[in-house]
Amino acid sequence: MSTLDTRDSRPYWQRYMPGHHWRSAAEEFDSCKFGFWLFLSTEVLLFGGIFCAYFIFRSLYPGAFMEGSRALDWRWGALNTVVLLVSSYTMAASIYCVQKGLFSRAKLNLWITLICGLLFLLIKFTFEYTPKWSGYFFVLDPALSHHTETMVQGKTAFMGLFQYVEGYGGKRPGSLFDFPFAKDANMPLWWSVYYSGTAIHALHVIIGMVLIARVLKRVGQGYYGPTHYTMVEVSGLYWHLVDLIWIFLFPLLYLIH
């Protein structure tokens, strides 16, 4: 959209012209931010569905939810909260650095943000998901999906396609994870909410990391600077939202017994 003179050797952000339908770059920036806030409101509503399901099922089956919550280790959740809070700070700092033209510091901050995102996912998969699955194997045969009786009997138990079969694969569920199904028949609901909520959140973390990686690459190429940093800013907004969703997920899933 913007018209660029290829002979102009200044960095992109200095040559940047707003789209032809805008009266000024400031108006374009304001509108992009406004549009992005609207988009963030749709994200909040998307997770609103998960939270709504959480509250309804919690009020219907408080026992299963308390039991389920005890099966999580709050320490991993807390560590991940700290990781995300740090990344939110570095993200905000990187926007400031780009605005001030401090590009190497901006890149450093973006790297830290990216590493924090990666750390979050690592903790999630290595210490939270995997131990819970260690006694499970992946069932690919849809015929095995009809499992209601097995679930109630408690010998083999089901969490979606992940079927727990006693003795299968050797390892018992780890110390961080209390095998839930024998205790409460409504426990699967808790795990459904837990996995759906945290998995969709993890997906958002991945999308946020892709955005940040793109910004990082483009900061290196001189795309953004004091007069043009829209993408840096909205990527930051997205990352803060990912953080915010976790701030709600963490106490609801880990802390309320």
Binding site: F39, T42, V193
Partner: protein, 587 residues
């Protein structure tokens, strides 16, 4: 008139050879081209959904009957369009019924998600929102193109699901049926994924429109100088942004439930099916107003322009749009009267009646506008009057459905089917037809044949009432919806209804012919064929690539017909009504 030949040329001017032009359209960020591509895509899906409807109507022409031969004891099935002869001879009605279920699901899902929801905002809205605001484009042109591609991808998913055999859940995908039907296949998952993808398209369009209205109004255009079409599209866009994510998460969880067997909605997995209904209708009720609000906007504009009269109660209509958008979020429960507590049902019933207030405000204001107007009975105006007639019936028949005691009898019958067809087809599609005719000269640069268009409109009107008015009788006499067969006493109503549906088809074929003839041989359209005052009539017909030659400055209201001479006014195009003579002499 369009006379600035030295300028860029119209947006329709080909950029080069055939493939260059195709590539230009496929990568365009011009809101006019995107609007036209949406229009074509939506009309194509309308054709597919319409064919499914015809098939449904044909099946219902005769009831399905099993005859047992008293001597041999052999069963034989008659009246079944979709069963094979072998099945009929074996007395087997199930395969035919399954196909019937898939056809009405196909009809519902396509018409709702791929036609009526995007119809007016994505096509006419995309084309005219920036023009009416005096802007060069929507706020985010590339996002706009992306939303068209997302729409196409979503439609491809839906069509794939149909080609693989279709879905028999009804367009509402109620659990637990939708999570257990067709095991081994994932046609339901593909179809729900399609609806999920289409939701994204809807969100992006809505988001784009909200920002455009806030940020890109021409100099001099305050909020209350905007055409009412913009107000309506704006209100609908807010609903699109705020309601669609909820269907997003609902369909995502449904897909998780089907594929990973996590239990949220399926009682066999410990879930709650009523929660699905709450989630589903929390989106799908507000979205009913995404369907109708832009239609109301078209009617407000067409009605004022074609009767050359200042709209009555401008602010009331504008606020009614926002009022409808607001109320739309608190009435979803009336789709589940049967599955809620009595108190909750009463509350939702009371809230439902609130919708009638802003809606009636609009209808009364439209009628007041017609009073003493210089009404021109051309195709857009005929469709506007058809809208008023059909939509009023649709709205009023909503009242017995919102009343708990009568709903007990009427719910899940053909009365409901007739009601929502009067609102959705009689409302939205009629408004779309009014809008297409009204803006056809602007979009294509050609005039259409007025007599042919009016003939088509009257056929559609007659056919529509034959098809759907009979269904009120069917429903109030107890014919349940979604059944392939019925008792004999209903047959005459079903036959009238089926004949009516063919009259509708004939009407739309007449329209198709009129439109094609207009494109091929139509008279060149003047810039302002109807004498409108809004900014799209300042632009050429068809508009210049950048919409306007100079950025327009707004100095008058959108409907000040008494005091303002229409832009590009030519006495040959249309007669200036007597009341406006004063304005002309001032000029």
């Amino acid at each position: 008139m369009a006379h600035d030949a030295h300028h860029h040329g119209s947006y329709l001017t080909p950029k080069g050879g055939f493939w260059t032009t195709v590539a230009d359209w496929a990568t365009t960020v011009d809101h006019k081209k995107i609007g036209m591509m949406y229009l074509v895509a939506i009309l194509f899906m309308f054709f597919i959904g319409g064919m499914a409807a015809m098939a449904v109507r044909l099946e219902l022409f005769e009831p399905v009957r099993t005859h047992v031969d008293p001597t041999t004891g052999a069963a034989h099935v008659t009246g079944q369009l979709f069963g094979s002869k072998a099945d009929a001879d074996a007395g087997n009605i199930k395969p035919g019924n399954n196909l019937y279920n898939r056809l009405f699901t196909l009809h519902g899902a396509i018409m709702v998600f791929m036609v009526i929801v995007p119809s007016i905002p994505a096509s006419l809205g995309n084309f005219f929102l920036p023009l009416m605001l005096g802007a060069k484009d929507v706020a985010f042109p590339r996002l706009n193109l992306l939303s068209w591609y997302i729409y196409v991808i979503g439609s491809i998913f839906a069509v794939t699901s149909i080609i693989l055999g279709g879905v028999d859940t009804g367009w509402t995908f109620y659990t637990p049926y939708s999570t257990t039907t067709d095991p081994g296949f994932n046609r339901v998952a593909i179809m729900t994924l399609a609806a999920f993808i289409l939701g994204f398209s809807s969100i992006l369009t809505g988001l784009n429109f909200v920002v455009t209205v806030h940020k890109l109004r021409a100099p001099g255009m305050g909020w209350f100088d905007m055409p009412l079409f913009i107000w309506a599209v704006y209100a609908a866009a807010i609903i699109q942004v705020l309601a669609t994510p909820v269907i997003g998460i609902t369909l995502l969880l449904l897909t998780f439930e089907r594929i990973f067997r996590v239990g949220i909605f399926d009682p066999a997995l410990g879930g709650d099916p009523v929660l699905f209904q709450h989630f589903f209708w929390f989106y799908s009720h507000p979205v009913v107003y995404v369907m109708i609000l832009p239609g109301m906007g078209v009617i407000s504009d067409v009605l004022a322009v074609q009767s050359h009269k200042k709209i009555f109660g401008y602010r009331a209509i504008a606020f009614a749009s926002l009022g409808i958008a607001g109320v739309s979020f608190i009435v979803w429960g009336h789709h589940m009267f049967a599955s809620m507590s009595e108190l909750a049902s009463m509350v939702f019933s009371a809230l439902t009646f609130l919708v009638a207030i802003p809606t009636a405000v609009k209808v009364f204001n439209w009628i007041a506008t017609l009073y003493k107007g210089s009404i021109v009975l051309n195709a857009p105006m005929v469709y506007t009057l058809i809208f008023l007639f059909l939509f009023s019936i649709g709205g009023l028949t909503g009242l017995p459905l919102g009343t708990l005691s009568t709903d007990l009898h009427l719910h899940d019958t053909y009365f409901v089917v007739a009601h929502f067809h009067y609102v959705m087809m009689g409302g939205t599609i009629m408004a779309l037809m009014a809008g297409i005719h009204h803006w056809w000269p602007k979009m294509t640069g050609r005039m259409y044949d007025e007599k042919g268009a009016i003939a088509g409109a009257l056929l559609v009107f007659i056919g529509f009432n034959l098809t759907f008015f009979t269904q009120f009788f069917l429903g109030s006499r107890g014919m349940p919806r979604r059944y392939a067969s019925y008792v004999d006493e209903f047959q005459i109503w079903h036959q009238i209804s089926t004949i009516g549906s063919f009259v509708i088809l004939l009407g739309f074929l007449v329209h198709l012919f009129v439109f094609l003839a207009s494109l091929a041989t139509g008279k060149k359209a003047p810039a302002n064929p109807w004498g409108g005052l809004t900014l799209e009539w300042v632009a050429d017909s068809p508009p210049d690539e950048h919409n306007f030659h100079h950025e327009p400055i707004v100095t008058h209201g959108p409907y000040d017909f008494e005091t303002v001479v229409p832009p590009h006014w030519d006495p040959k195009d249309y007669p200036i009504p007597a009341e406006n003579k004063v304005a002309v002499s001032h000029h």
